[in-house]
Symmetry: C2
Subunit: 158 residues, 2 copies
């Protein structure tokens, strides 16, 4: 029989290997409005886009595109900073093409990164954009299973 | 040669068959903060969650879960309303399990809908939850390609 200490170590190991758990709650606010909140009370408001109605909040599908842009940008910045590149700004323009039949998923997503900095090395930028999208970005890791993701970049001296 | 009218009809048909295009821009605000905006200027703020740092905005991956909750809830409500069900409230608790290796995607997402209403028909609710998740919700249509999505519901008389 294993000792108590052995069991504890095993349990701890099992716990450490557990995936991170994220919890969110989404409440219907009436009409086509929703609010999502995490355990600390941070919120996001949504409004379902209806034809002919001026929205006051982003839709879930718009938010999906924005999440992809933010997530992938973060890794690009982190990688370039580690390589001591003088990155001063980053914007990404995202375009999602939705199909007509339900579920109206994006079948293609195009991303164009505009990377601003002083004397940025083109190879480092290209590599950072590639690694972020193909290895690190979790949102991209999910959406790329459903949509073809195409990315490009432009370097602006600043 | 086709008449002018014929060409116009063809062009229109081609346009109607085009997928909807969504555009977003995401800007780096410095540090680990980002803002996404659509063409009408509606915004969402993001903050990348770092260990030991108290976030002031939701992370892209938290937002992904919330988008799924809002999108799927919308269709549940719409379906139940069409069936003249007296739905008075809807909340959904979402739990995402992320794997440890990059990209740190959700491998499983659990959703529990709490449907409030007066005399709601259990079969109609079950059917609405199922159809929303399996047919209509675009966010779910994308995320279900990467994660196993498990859902349940509870009816609360109100």
């Amino acid at each position: 029989m294993p000792s108590k200490r052995y069991i504890l170590i095993c349990k701890r190991h099992k716990f450490d290997a557990m995936p991170t758990v994220k919890n969110m709650v989404v409440d219907w606010l009436g009409d086509v409005k929703f609010v999502g909140r995490n355990e600390k009370g941070l919120k996001i408001n949504f409004e379902i886009a209806l034809e002919g109605v001026e929205s006051t909040e982003l839709s879930p599908m718009e938010t999906l595109l924005a999440s992809l842009g933010a997530c992938s940008s973060y890794y690009i910045i982190t990688i370039l900073k580690k390589q001591r590149q003088d990155i001063k700004g980053l914007s990404v323009e995202l375009t999602g093409l939705r199909r007509d039949e339900p579920p109206r998923i994006y079948t293609e997503i195009h991303m164009k990164y505009i990377v601003k900095g002083s004397g940025l090395n083109r190879n480092f930028v290209e590599n950072a954009v590639k690694i972020s999208n193909e290895k690190y970005c979790s949102v991209g890791g999910m959406l790329s299973k459903a949509a073809k993701i195409v990315y490009s970049y432009e370097i602006v001296e600043a």
